[in-house]
Each structure stands twice: as structure tokens, then as C-alpha cells.
Symmetry: C4
Subunit: 291 residues, 4 copies
């Protein structure tokens, strides 16, 4: 177990407020952050509407600055209060936190970097952290593990679908040709995906009888093979459900207790950023750091 | 148990006719009401067709008044014959009953309040009461409880889908831009939902190669993730079905008897408006009021 | 058991050829009939293509007459060779057989009765008889009984969907109005069905922000509730499959042997038109008539 | 067991490199081939984009020749190194290998045979061999056998769908007619398939009220019957999964060990082209030829 020097008191306090949702201050912080994220996303969306932007440009700009500065302060506090700042900065959420504050500052230097607006939408991903969906997701854990178990099969299925669309896309390009909107093979493959997935925009449609016959086959195929991913997910999910059920039924089960049944809380280790801790844990079970 | 004074005889009679479907008079009343509701909805629909309205305006208007007055009388009788009128008035169906009569009267005072026509469509919800679908729904109760059990998981799923559409919508806005119909981010998110759900109107379509590649990914994703809600509902429904089956198989089941198997009738308690009563019940099992 | 006089020999012969597929002659007859039906449908389809019709009008007309006369002869032979002609004439296939020959004769009397062409497409239904799909369908019998068991639940579901579309259609009519293609409530309801079922023609699309928000909700709803019929059918079908499996497993099953497992053949009783007979049956199990 | 003369040493070496993926040389060859196939398909796709083709025509042409010659050499080596060349040439992959090299040579003789480009897309099918998906597919073998078990039922279902679309297509043709885009019955049937599969291009849409009512019915039907193939595949797949599970549970299973559990490798018999061999097999289990 690595021996670690205790951090200064205010840092510990900040850590508790920012990283944990179990204290009133932590809960309040999370709610404020959640509102800030949603407000920020709404701002990005409304700003993009020209009629609104021309009217309320100053309001949008000021609000955006307020939120950006708040996020910046939060980012700095997160770095300071964590034991291993580098680990946070290079973590998934660390990068997202940085990307969601930087565009606004860059817009000061480079005028008209409108494209950077996209990075602000990335803030939305932060919602997952604030909502501490970990706890909630553990309820739908069977679903996650069912999807994981299905991954390989669905990948093979998707590869097969891709190959089919490329071949049929080429065929459609040869049959319909430029004059009916099938300008080139990539566009024709795009049309094929649009049709096979039953989306059917209708911006490109086959005009020749032969093209329409092949299109019909693609549609019926798409209509039929949707059964495959559905069948896989359903069967895997049912299996997972049944496994847990059986474990519940036989108390002296030979199988190990399901990990979901361990009570976890939302404390985050200030050393290694591990988030799933047992309810009464006193030390991080990943790095031995005192919680 | 609250001691309640017996209502006057004619009120009891009215209560029986309006609220219960077990007597011939009650059945007759229900059928008339059902026809009135359907006729009323047809009127609303046909009135909205200009060519028909200009021809048969007077007929439509008179019929509408007849139905509105009938519904008003019914509403008043419902209030009178119930023990706790306030409870009825503030109940779900009480509000619907009011909302479905009031627009026509308001159209007398405020000329041209065409918008209120929508409230008349709300009458359709009354069908559920008339059809006393309670009994029928109990047959598909496994479905309802399966949907309830799936609710949390489907909510998480829907939240994830929403976040995906907002992020991808922003990306598409940046790639395609105003010139290809992606006027602003909300509209782009709308397009993203249209595409992900495989609806595909085709009023807005990506024109750039990169936009079409991302659109393809969205479509394939939408085509694949439809498996998730389907898988959840199917698995939950199968589980519920199996539970009942097991109970049927083991006569001396350790599990409590399934509530569906109790015979209920359509009597409505005149005190608390509770509708599910055991077939031979003499007192309301919710408030102890004599049926 | 009704005592029946034996039919004249040639009638019995005809009966065997037309109604049974177990003799070489019967099989040959069925194949010829199958080809005639498919040819007839192809004729109807090709005739409707103007460019082809103007070229090959005489060929189409003559072929159509040949097929019609063949079908007429077959119809008459069917009446003659059956014990109870009235029962055949009023049976499902009897009516279809009549409807598929009569239009051509009527076109002689009433010039330009193009609309009657539809009745010729009805001939397609005859395919089911020729293919003697009975035997084949019994293989997918679990599917049929699963669909039957799901009927009530799917009906309730469909009713709910219908009510939702009518209410949302009215709302969309009020929001979008005539100027955006939502001309009247029925058309708006039609749009709502197009959207909820994820078909999405795109001939009518919401233009107002509020309309697009509600449209998004309709689409997500449609995308989600497709899980309901799928879940019901899958669960019921799995149940049926398992039932049979259990019966197979326990030889001395307390449950009656599954009817599917009785070997049936395609003989048709010449008295009562019953088609499912046990392989070694000598008398019709419905009317006692000698096969 | 047929006695076979050993091939010359270099032929054996070539066989090992081309047909087997277990040696380093074989793995390297497979990776090169995979890259060549993907590059070749990308070339075909990019060539079809006019703006790119006019710019880089020479580059595309040269690259195409390089790949074609490589494929030709590979094809010849495959013929030489195999014991029974005729068997390879007439096998599925033999024909594909030929078809993917020949078009380029033909374009030398016949100028402007652009249509042959389609055959080059067939190269994509070769990917399945290179990826040696056999091993991987055996993981999703339950899926394949589930699909096989569902085949008959899905065929009946598809036949029924086809008959429905033909009849409804004819009805729509009669109702809507030429003036609304339903030019002839085949086109009308095409529209019907577009609608039933919920693709909904929107290039042809019903305009008459009656047409829209029938269209609504078709859409709801399509929305509902998608449950059928999904239900079949899911149920069959679940059954297969459970069977394996049961076998795993009961070690002394009365059922034979599941074939998937035999370790196979990617060696290909140079005599009979059989690809699934047990890991320690020394002779081909199909023809007895030494591996």
C-alpha cells in the first residue's frame, strides 16, 4: 500500500465538494454544475438560430463567458484538489473538461472560429459524470453485459451488411447511373445504406424497372435482417436475467455473488480517480489511498 | 371505516346507470356514450375539411351543439350522483370531461377561437373509460408490468440517445451548414432524430461526402439500437409470463396468488371512485363505503 | 353419419385430380394450375404498363381469354365433382374462384370496365390452395397459434396507437395548419401514422419549431413502441415452442399429444370439403363420408 | 483412403503460404491480400467519382493494373499448388477469383466496357476467405443455425407478404391511378413494398383520401408484422443457446458434444479444399490426404 502525505485541509474540502455527491455541499455543487451544462448547451443551440442570435447576441456572449469562466475555475480546482493531477488531465473526463472550456478562449485570439462551437457541444458528455450514472447504470447492468456479449456477433453481422451494401451499391450505380442521381459508387452505397436501414430519405430513388426490383429486394432484406441484432440482444439479455434469477433462487449458489449486488457509492478516490467504492470502504480498493 | 349517509334514491339510480356497466341500463348508457364520443370525434375531423365544412356547416354546428349539451348533462349528473364531487372534478377523467365540453361554450363568447377545437379531440380519451378497458387490460397486465419494469432501463437508453442526437446534430450542422438545409443546431438535431429513428422524411438531406458518411453511421446506429428497447421489453415480458406459468403449475405455490386472478367487475365506488372491486364485494375495499 | 350415394365414376376421377395432390394426375393438375395463376397475374401486371399494352395488346387479350376459359372450366368441374356444390360455391375459395373468372366476361358486356381488373388480382389468393400450404403451415403452426394468442393484446395496443395518432394529428393540425400541408385533421392523422410507423414519406413535413419538437416526440415514441408487438409475438412464440419441447421430453406426458404431430395428407373430402385428413383415414373425420 | 503422390517441394511451400494462416509467411500473405482487396475496392469506388477520375486517371489506371496482375499471379499459384486444380477452379471462391481479374483484361480488348466494373466489386467477397471468418463464424454458429431453422417459416412469411403487396399494389393502382404517380401495377407494387417495409421514399405518395386510408393500413400492417421475423429468429436463437447451455451443465450429457467445441484450425487440404480440420489432425478428415 503506497503511503501518501495528507493534502492540505482546504484541498480535501474542495475534493469532497467536487468529486463526491454524498455531502449536502457535494450535492449542491452537482446540481449547479448540471444546470450550468444544460444552460450552456441550450446557449450553443439558440446561438445557432440566426434570428435569435442577431437579437440577443450580447446576452448570449456574456452568458457564454460566465459559463466558460465557471467551467475554467472548476477545471483548475479539479486539478488542484486531486492527488495525481496528470492522471486527471489525461483521463477521459479531464480531456472533455478542457475541450469544453478552451474554444471560447481561442475565439478571442482567432476571430471567427465558428467551427469550434462543436467542442462546446462536447460538454454534454459531462452530464454523465454529474448524473453519476454509474449507480443507475448498475441497475441496467444486465443490458450492458448483454450488449458486450453480443458485440462480436453484431460486428460480424455489421461487416456482412457493409459488404452487401458495397456490392449492391455498385450494382445500382451500373443500373441507374448518373442520370437518376446515382452519381458515383460511394453515393450509391450511401443510398443503399439509406434503403437497407429502412430510413428512405427519397432524395435519390431508382427510376428504371430493374433498379426498382433490386431496390425492393434491398428493402425486404433490410426489413428481414433487422431481426438479427434484435434476436441476439434479446436472447443474451434474457440469459443474463435468468442467470441472476437462478443465483437469487439458490442461496448457497456455487456461482460467485453478482458484482452488482455490492453496495457502491459515488465517492471518488482523490489519488487514482476510481469511482466505484463499497459503501463502508475506508481505503480505495485500487490504490490503497485513504478516502 | 367512515360512516356515510345513504344518498337519495334517484342519485343512487343515476350512479348505477352512469358508473356501472353491469345493469342493462348501465350497458345501454355506455353504448350511447361510446357512439356519442365517436360521432363527436368524426365531427371534429370532418369539420376541419374545408370543402365539407362549407357545404354542411350548419349540420356540423347543430350536431356539435347537441353532443356538447349531452356531454354537459352527463358531466352534471356525474357530479351530482357521486358522494365526493370534488374528488371526481379533480380526477383525471373529471378534468377531461370538463375540457371536452367547455370549448364549444367558449366559442360563443370569443368568436373565432378555432384553436380550442383541439380540446374536443381530448374527448377521445373518454373512450378508455367507456370501454371499461380495465377488465381487458388486466388480460394484458403482463405487458403493462413488463413495460413498467423496463421503464428505468428504457429511460437511461432514451437519455443516451438524446445526448447522441444533440452531439451528432451539432456535428452535422458544422459539416453541412445553412446552404444544405441544416439551418441551425435545433433543426440539425431534429434531422438527427428523423434519421436515427429510421423515419427519414428527406426534406433535409446531407449533400457533402463527409455529411453522408456520418449520416450512414447514424442510420446504421439507429438500425442497430432499435434492438435495445425491443430486447428489454421482450425479456421482461417473457419473465412475467413465466412467473405466472410457474404459479399455475405449482398449486400450493409459496408465492402469493397473482392479483390478476381475482375476479373484478366494473362497479365504481360512489365514494372514492375506485373501480376495481372483487365480484362479490359488498363494501369498497379502499374506503369501506357500501357499494 | 350421413349415408351418401356413390358418385358416377368419372366424377370421382375428376374429384381426385382436382382436389387431391397425391396422385400423379393430381400433382400435374396442380402444377399446371399454379403456372396458370402466376401467368395470369403477370398478364394483369404487364397489361397495366401502357408501353407494353399498346405493343402487345392482342397477345395479352388472347392469353387472358385462354386463361379465363381454363379457369371457367375448372370452376365448373369443381362444382360438378363435389358432392355438395352449394357448400363449395359459398366457401371462401369458391367465391374467389368465381370472382377471378367473371371480370373478363363482364368486360364483354360493359365496355371499358377497367376497374374490374382488380378482381383478377384476387386470383393470387388461389395460390394458397394450389400450394396446399396446409401441410407447410402446420410446420409453422406455432407461429400461427402465437399470433392468435397475441391477437387480443395487439388489438388493445393498436387501439391505443390509433387514439394517440388522432390526438397528436389534431395537435399537429393546430400547430402547423394549412400553409404547411396539414390541410385538415384526417390528413394530419395520416401524417401522424406515416411518422409513428417510421415510414416517413416526407411529402408533408412540419416546418414550425414546435411542430418539429412534437414530430420528434412522435418519432421517438414510434421507434420505442415497435418493441411492444415484437415483444408480445416473441414471448408467445417462445412459449409455444417450449410447450412442444416439454411434450417431446416427457413421453408419458399428461398433456394431450400436439395436433401438429398427426400425419395429415392433402386429400379433400368430396362431401364437406374438409382438407386435413389423417394419413390412413378411410372416412372423413368431419362428416363420415368415404374418401 | 486414396493414396496420393507427394507434390514437388516448392508447390507444397506455396500451398502453405497461400492456403494456411498458421505460419508467419501465411499470415503475412493474408494481410497483404486483405490490403490489396480493400485498396482495389477503394480504387473502384474513387474511380467512379468523376472529379477524382479526371484528375488522377493515370494513377487509378496504373494501380488497377498492378492489383490485377497481383491477383492474376495469385490465381495461377492457387491453381498450381492445389492437387485438384479443377475442383478449385469450379469452386465458389475459384469463380470469384477469376471474375475479379478478368474484367481489366477484357477492357483492353473491348474499349469502354465500363459495365464490367461491377465484377471488380465482387472482389469484396474474397474478404471472407482472407479473414478466415470460418473460425469467427463458429462463435456465432448458433446464429447461423437459428437462421437456418427459421428459414422455412420466414419463407412462408415472405411469400405471404409478397402476395399481400401484389394485391394491395393493384388496389392502389386502381384508386390512385396514373395522375398520382401510380403509373402501372408493377410500380404500384414497388410503392407497396417501399411502404410496407417502412422505408417510405416519398417519391410516390397517395393523394386521394381513400388511397391515404389504405396506405395507413399498409403502414400499420408493416409496422406490426416486422414482429414476425424478429420473433422467429429470437425464439430459435434462444433455443439454440439454451441447448448448448444444458449440454454444458450436464457433463455426462446423453447428447453428442456440440461440433463447435472441437478446435479447428485454418489449414486447407490441398487435395479437396476442405477447410475445417481438427487442431491435431494429420490427415484430411474428408479425403484422407496428408496435410
Amino acid at each position: 500500500m503506497p503511503e501518501a502525505k495528507p493534502k492540505s485541509n482546504w484541498k480535501l474540502k474542495v475534493h469532497e465538494v467536487i468529486y463526491e455527491a454524498d455531502t449536502p455541499a457535494g450535492k449542491f455543487f452537482d446540481i449547479v454544475l448540471l444546470i450550468a451544462i444544460i444552460a450552456s448547451i441550450l446557449l450553443v443551440m439558440l446561438e445557432s438560430i440566426e434570428s435569435l442570435d442577431s437579437k440577443y447576441h450580447t446576452f448570449f456572449n456574456v452568458s457564454e463567458w460566465v459559463i466558460t469562466i465557471l467551467f475554467s475555475i472548476e477545471y483548475i480546482l479539479r486539478i488542484i484538489s486531486v492527488k495525481q493531477p496528470l492522471k486527471y488531465v489525461t483521463s477521459f473526463y479531464g480531456i472533455i473538461d478542457l475541450l469544453s472550456t478552451i474554444p471560447k478562449y481561442l475565439s478571442l485570439i482567432f476571430v471567427g472560429t465558428h467551427a469550434l462551437v462543436a467542442f462546446r457541444a462536447i460538454r454534454l458528455l459531462r452530464i454523465f459524470r454529474v448524473l453519476k450514472l454509474v449507480r443507475f447504470l448498475s441497475a441496467s447492468n444486465h443490458l450492458v453485459s448483454a450488449l458486450r456479449a453480443s458485440r462480436a456477433k453484431i460486428s460480424v453481422f455489421m461487416l456482412a451488411v457493409l459488404i452487401i451494401t458495397i456490392i449492391l451499391g455498385t450494382v445500382m450505380y451500373l443500373i441507374e447511373g448518373k442520370e437518376h442521381g446515382f452519381d458515383n459508387i460511394p453515393k450509391s452505397v450511401y443510398w443503399c445504406i439509406v434503403t437497407l436501414t429502412t430510413v428512405g430519405f427519397g432524395d435519390i430513388t431508382p427510376q428504371t424497372p430493374l433498379g426498382q426490383i433490386i431496390a425492393s429486394l434491398i428493402m425486404i432484406m433490410g426489413y428481414g435482417i433487422i431481426a438479427v441484432p434484435t434476436g441476439i440482444v434479446t436472447a443474451e439479455y434474457s440469459k443474463k436475467e435468468k442467470e441472476t434469477e437462478n443465483e437469487d433462487a439458490h442461496a448457497i449458489s456455487p456461482l460467485p455473488k453478482h458484482p452488482d449486488e455490492i453496495d457502491v457509492n459515488s465517492q471518488t478516490c482523490s489519488n487514482c480517480l476510481n469511482t466505484k467504492h463499497k459503501d463502508k470502504a475506508k481505503y480505495c480498493d485500487q490504490c490503497g489511498y485513504k478516502l
